[in-house]
Subunit: 355 residues, 2 copies
């Protein structure tokens, strides 16, 4: 395993995207989100995804230079056409609009169609924190989750992220797929042939239960949060549908099983996303103090196991970033570095410089 400094991860991703046709600022936008994911320990959403984005730009399935625009707006809302730009370009555009509206009238609720995968949701929700506001984002995704009782998948892992500011730079940051696990988690485990808990995937009765991560990946039926119906998996399915309602249904993008398959290289994704910013100064004074008090209470709860303290959502990622900062770089496996080297050779881009 070897380390790479974050700025070098960004440089590499940006070069790869530019060489296949993305405009420099757009390539930089996407590169920043990918590098951030790896710095937070979300390896499923960082460098690991670069080849997919490169393919989308190369095949002109995504437009590496398009600029999103507002179709319709009020003081508090906007409907945006992402124009098939890179996901982070659409996301950053929408968050800027949402922040501006929330400053003016307390809330901004923006939905975009014609978007692409935007990486980690917390990249967007946490933009509100810099303005002492709350952020909330939703994205639909390619079908991978069977609705409760369904034999086949019809919903995406439809993630949501919420960020709220506490005092002295502390915060609450939730970033989760509405399925039991993100597809990337199974993706990462499949290569190692690791077993996964039964609540993660819907495995047909006739299939062998061993090497289950590989099987779950092949079948592409991930359980909604909660798992089986008896354990309230229908709530995870309901949350996935809630996310879809705020995304594809509200924005008029593709939705549900009509979204292209995850690896489909034939048509644009036409994903839809929803971006919300809430200005706490228009509600009860002292928001950050209360958020800090809530965080303090939670972190000080007596743990079931002394070596596993109670965490506030966002703490694991915070801890991982501190570690990366302290160690001076992101630690990648040989596998990850080999894939990156192959991509560099293929695209004739300067290879990733390891420490």
């Amino acid at each position: 395993m070897k380390r790479v400094v974050p700025s070098e991860i960004q440089r590499f991703c940006k070069d790869c995207l530019e060489v296949v046709g993305a405009s420099p600022p757009h390539a930089a936008s996407l590169a920043a989100v990918l590098a951030q994911a790896d710095q937070m320990g979300y390896f499923s959403h960082g460098l690991n995804r670069l080849a997919i984005y490169v393919q989308d730009v190369q095949l002109k399935l995504a437009d590496g230079a398009a600029v999103p625009s507002i179709i319709k707006e009020t003081t508090a809302t906007a409907w945006v056409d992402g124009k098939n730009a890179l996901g982070p370009v659409v996301g950053n555009f929408c968050m800027d609009v949402a922040i501006k509206k929330a400053k003016e009238c307390g809330i901004g609720w923006i939905v975009a169609k014609g978007s692409n995968q935007y990486g980690i949701g917390s990249w967007y929700s946490t933009q509100a924190l810099k303005h002492n506001m709350l952020g909330m984002v939703f994205s639909n995704a390619s079908p991978l989750v069977p609705p409760t009782r369904s034999e086949k998948n019809a919903m995406g892992t439809n993630p949501l992220s919420v960020a709220a500011p506490a005092m002295d730079g502390d915060s609450f940051v939730l970033d989760m797929a509405t399925s039991t696990t993100a597809v990337g988690v199974i993706e990462v485990k499949k290569t190692t042939q690791k077993k996964i808990p039964m609540a993660w995937a819907q495995i047909p009765d006739e299939k062998p239960k061993d090497t289950i991560a590989k099987l779950a990946w092949d079948i592409k039926d991930q359980m909604p949060l909660g798992g089986e119906e008896i354990n309230s998996g229908y709530k995870g399915y309901g949350l996935a549908l809630m996310v879809e309602t705020f995304c594809g249904i509200l924005a008029g993008g593709d939705f549900g099983p009509n979204i292209r398959e995850w690896t489909d290289a034939k048509r644009p994704a036409n994903l839809a996303q929803c971006f919300v910013v809430i200005n706490p100064t228009h509600f009860a004074p002292g928001f950050e103090q209360r958020m800090s008090e809530m965080n303090r209470i939670l972190r000080n709860l007596e743990p079931l196991h002394p070596d596993k303290p109670v965490l506030v959502p966002g703490d694991p990622e915070r801890k991982y970033m501190e570690k990366v900062n302290k160690e001076g770089g992101v630690l990648y496996t040989e596998d990850q570095l080999t894939v990156a080297a192959q991509l560099a050779a293929k695209l004739k881009v300067a290879p990733l410089k390891v420490l």
Copy 2:
């Protein structure tokens, strides 16, 4: 088991609340929500809860005549003081404000402090449907759920509800606790000594696992949605904290473990709630058509078991209401009717008239 017509459930609840001091219109507001819950098959949230509300009014823990007011507002937002009025009085007030604002500028985001238990969330979220808009509501609640890794509870079952209109009166209506089950479900099962799945409650290792519903009720540690950490229970915990952030933290009401215990008869609840209405006409045209198409796709998915069709959230309640309508009334058990008769005798109110 005997039937009671819905108007008679309302009459009985209203009489009980009035006789202990609630104003007639406020008693009627609460009675309507309770009767609706039983008509939908949510027996945990209907007549079953009446005695608790009666006690709150009788002991002046809730104000049966108070009128909520707006403390602060913008075109799109409002911060409301519920003035310790009955939950449905606060809820209906806030939804009216949210609907008015959403008509004007596309969205209304209202938070209230000084509220009380408001019954089923879908009572409020579905009010938006009558105006062809989307509704979303959140409420905090008394602590019953241990955050992931915590020995003790510190969060409520913090429910959320989302309603979105489809064509010809169809809709998508999600109404769920962010715990694996609502407390009422365990409450109903405890009297019958029924076992419950392990993912529902956090039972300490040293406790017997039999008559587990009773035990779960006594311990009051319900699992967040997802259950154990390995099955992503931290996501359910994160959702509970999201709800609390939009309620107690944003509105400045009580929050987390500072909320009174569920059966505490010593101080007002000071719950907080959040009410959102979104006007789809400010986004992509054809919202209801797409919602109907999504529902159609979901209901027509091939089911795993032929006798268990795939449902859209809201379908089970819809089906139950149709049954009640067809049969001419809500079917109550002898137990439920005995409790109601005792309450009638105690309050000197005309007893519930059964068919």
